[in-house]
């Protein structure tokens, strides 16, 4: 090669070096720089400054290891790379590098060895490209793919979860236990139908939409004994603190006042770190059981009360008291009186002042005959008014003041059940609710009806006991009187006969003259006849006590009857120093049973003589107006106290003044029966100390109807 050629070559070569230098100086996409043999930066280009952040002056002479990450530097990577290049002349990688500001970037790095013409090693050329954007795009794509996969998985998971949650939901909804789930800070997040019902909500959705305050305003939370249950001690709340717990809780619904009894258990659900995720409360309601227990308890108490005494009025009052407040806020007992109206026997309320109010109410506004209590009496069927509406109160209270009080009482619900005697309703038991707000249902009516039935039995028992006792008393009286009445005439006969027997045994009988003996025998016979008559009379009375009095009417002159009776009593009267006077005015004839009238007059005249203390007895007969005949028997005896005047007409009754006088106490009873059987009346007018006047008013009557014989079987 010639000098020129050499020079030209040299020129070309120099030109190329300049161009190369320019290229390096202008490239901004690549960091192109040189390291000296020790690995320190020897040149810097704009690309390097852009990518790595160092200005030329800052980096020249610094070891290239500053571009590496902490970990790489610690592992000696910078020197390892240089050693590799010295051995193999080239190193290439992609990896994390560090900018001046400490941020990382993803770099594509090529390091080559630099040798001079003579082949001597001079340093390293390093070309670095920033691939962060690409790297990020790749990362983003990878992430997107991963995310999509995750989303797909999540969808699958969610579908599975929803399916199992729906199944769980279905299970929880269908079980009879109430289930409620609450989460810390979030309140209730799940409730099933039973829980909603228990809390008096229409649906679980309505319950979950309500605030805690709204939920707890629906009911009072009580302990078993009725004391308030602190809300923080409810099992669900306790479970939120991580502790399971159980309790019996009484929810008293404010709307109806009814108690709902639940066995509540609360259990916490914790995450793997032991934090409470959820608290699950399960409510097992046993209101029905509790009610039936209470009902049985009340029934048992009432039955004990009902059988405790035969005084049924006291008993019914006790039952009314027992019903409050277990069964009712108000309870009342009414008994049908003889005029067909209901009289209040008892009324009960926890508050005595309200009891007075109820009595006052009854006094001022007796229940109308078309009202519920009378319907119950008429039909003998119990009545239930589950809800007493304003309209019902308005319709039932014609009086303004009554209406005002009725609204004030706030009556809510009512039951009226009959008290029965056989098939007849004889009274009512009324149960009312007001302030408790409780509403009666069919179950309550069944209980009330049962109470009514048992009370009816108790009344019947008490009544039949009273009747039996009365009958026993009457019988004992009869026996006492009859035995007394029989013993005296029997004594006369017995003394007479036994003395004759004794005289015969001792031979003394022979001392008696035949006349005397005959006289005594005749006397004995007469006494026997009298005894027989007495027995007949007792039998007659005993028959009349149970059966009807059949009259055999005939044309009878009452004056004749009186004359006969007086003639029989004149001797007895004379014995007490008395006389019997008869006065008649006008006709004294009617259609009467002569024998029976004789009995009646005999009793009146007999009494007058017996009690007259020797004063004259006057018998007056007069024909009255309008077809009546009046007979009066007047004595001058001690008279009869006012309080005895009705009683002495009873069977075996005598005036208390005559306690120690003999007599059966049947005379006046028999006289009254005979007179009333004739359609007449008997009464007494007496002032103690001024004698007594018995008056009999008899309708004249009519001849008996001819006996119709056609229907009688023909005699053969």
């Amino acid at each position: 090669m010639g000098a020129l050629e050499h020079a030209r070559n040299r020129e070309v070569e120099e030109e190329a070096v300049d161009l190369l230098a320019l290229l390096v100086a202008q490239v901004v996409d690549y960091a192109i720089f040189v390291l000296d043999k020790d690995g320190c930066v020897a040149s810097w280009n704009p690309g390097a400054q852009r990518i790595k952040g160092y200005a030329t002056s800052e980096i020249i002479g610094k070891p290239y290891a500053v571009f590496f990450t902490e970990e790489d530097r610690a592992s000696g990577k910078p020197n390892k790379i240089l050693s590799h290049v010295q051995a193999h002349d080239r190193y290439e990688e992609e990896g994390w590098r560090v900018r001046k500001d400490g941020t990382r970037f993803w770099a594509s790095v090529v390091v080559t060895g630099l040798h001079d013409r003579r082949g001597a090693f001079r340093g390293f050329a390093k070309i670095t490209r920033d691939l962060t954007d690409r790297r990020q795009a790749e990362e983003a794509a990878r992430l997107a793919a991963a995310e999509q996969a995750a989303r797909r998985q999540a969808e699958i998971d969610e579908r599975d979860m929803r399916r199992s949650r729906d199944q769980l939901d279905l299970i929880l909804r269908s079980i009879s236990e109430g289930v409620m789930v609450q989460a810390p800070q979030r309140g209730f997040i799940f409730a099933n139908e039973a829980a909603a019902r228990l809390c008096d909500f229409d649906s679980p959705e309505a319950l979950l939409a309500a605030t805690r305050e709204e939920i707890f305003s629906k009911f009072e939370v009580l302990r078993e004994d009725g004391s308030p249950f602190p809300l923080d001690e409810l099992p669900g709340r306790v479970a939120l603190q991580g502790r399971p717990s159980n309790a019996v809780v009484r929810f008293r619904l404010k709307r109806t006042g009814e108690d709902r009894w639940s066995f509540v258990s609360g259990a916490p659900v914790v995450d793997r770190h032991g934090n409470v995720d959820l608290s699950v409360s399960v409510f097992r309601e046993f209101t029905d059981r509790r009610r039936s227990e209470q009902a049985w308890q009340f029934l048992a108490d009432a039955s004990v009360a009902l059988s405790a005494s035969l005084d049924y009025e006291a008993t019914l009052k006790h039952v009314a008291d027992l019903a409050v407040p277990t069964i009712a806020d108000w309870s009342a007992v009414d008994i049908l009186t003889s005029d067909g109206s209901l009289a209040q026997l008892a009324v009960a309320h926890v508050d005595p002042s309200k009891r007075e109010l109820a009595k006052e109410w009854r006094r001022r506004w007796p229940p109308p005959r078309e009202g519920v209590p009378y319907q119950v009496i008429r039909t003998g069927l119990p009545q239930l008014l589950p809800e007493i509406t304003d309209a019902m109160i308005e319709a039932g209270t014609p009086d303004k003041e009554q209406r005002r009080v009725a609204f004030q009482l706030g009556l809510r619900s009512a039951m009226v059940v009959p008290l029965m005697a056989g098939k007849e309703a004889i009274g009512t038991l009324t149960f009312l609710t007001a302030e408790s707000g409780r509403r009666y249902g069919t179950q309550d009516l069944i209980l009330a009806t049962e109470i009514g039935r048992r009370a009816s039995l108790a009344i019947e028992n008490a009544r039949s006991y009273t009747e039996t006792r009365e009958a026993v008393r009457t019988r004992d009286n009869f026996l006492a009187v009859a035995s007394h009445e029989l013993r005296t005439p029997l004594s006369a006969l017995s003394v007479l006969i036994s003395s004759l027997v004794r005289a015969a045994a001792s031979g003394r009988l022979l001392k008696l003259s035949p006349e005397t003996l005959t006289q005594r025998m005749v006397k004995a016979e007469r006494q026997m006849t009298q005894l027989g008559r007495l027995v007949d009379r007792l039998l007659d009375v005993s028959r009349l006590s149970t059966g009807d009095l059949r009259l055999e009417r005939e044309r009878t002159d009452l004056g004749d009857v009186a004359r006969d009776v007086i003639s029989r009593y004149e001797d007895v009267a004379a014995e007490t120093g008395s006389t019997i006077e008869l006065r008649t005015t006008g006709p004294t004839i009617g259609w009467w049973d002569r024998g029976r009238l004789d009995q009646a007059v005999t009793n009146l005249v007999g009494n007058a003589v017996k009690y007259g203390q020797g004063a004259p007895v006057t018998v007056s007969i007069s024909s009255g107006t309008s077809g009546h005949v009046r007979l009066t028997v007047r004595d001058g005896g001690p008279g009869i106290p006012l309080e005895d005047q009705e009683r002495i007409f009873g069977q075996f009754e005598r005036s208390s003044e005559s306690e120690n006088l003999p007599g059966m106490g049947l005379g006046l009873w028999l006289a009254r029966r005979i007179v009333t059987a004739h359609g007449g009346a008997i009464n007494l007018d007496s002032v103690p100390g001024e004698g007594a006047t018995f008056s009999v008013l008899l309708p004249i009557g009519a001849p008996p109807a001819p006996v119709i014989t056609e229907d009688l079987p023909e005699r053969t």
Binding site: S491, L496, L661
Partner: protein
Amino acid sequence: MANGPHMTSGAATALEYILVVEDDKDLRDSLFEALELEGYAAVCVENGQAALSHLATGARPCVILLDLMMPVMDGWTFRQEMLKDPSLASIPVIVMTAATPARAAAIAAQVVIYKPLHMGRVMDVVQEHCPGGAA
């Protein structure tokens, strides 16, 4: 005889007689005749008031046969009146009654005999107090 006290006419009466207080006429008559047949004199009255009147004359029976239930003055009242007077209180009293034992117990008497009466029983108690008559 029907209205006043019965008096016996026998010799024994001067010393010893029985007072019968009974409102039933038939029984009163029967007792009088039976006692007479047994050899006793008797005075019969129809109530407590009449008996007190009789005793007020100073008469002293050896025993009184007393019915309880009588009008005007009953046996219980008569007995109370008797016991008030020391000169009468010591006269033995035999109650004859158809009343219940409970009511008869309310009277202070030596013996109570229940109706219907039997003459054997009457004589048993009478003879305890009036030994003379039976001779």
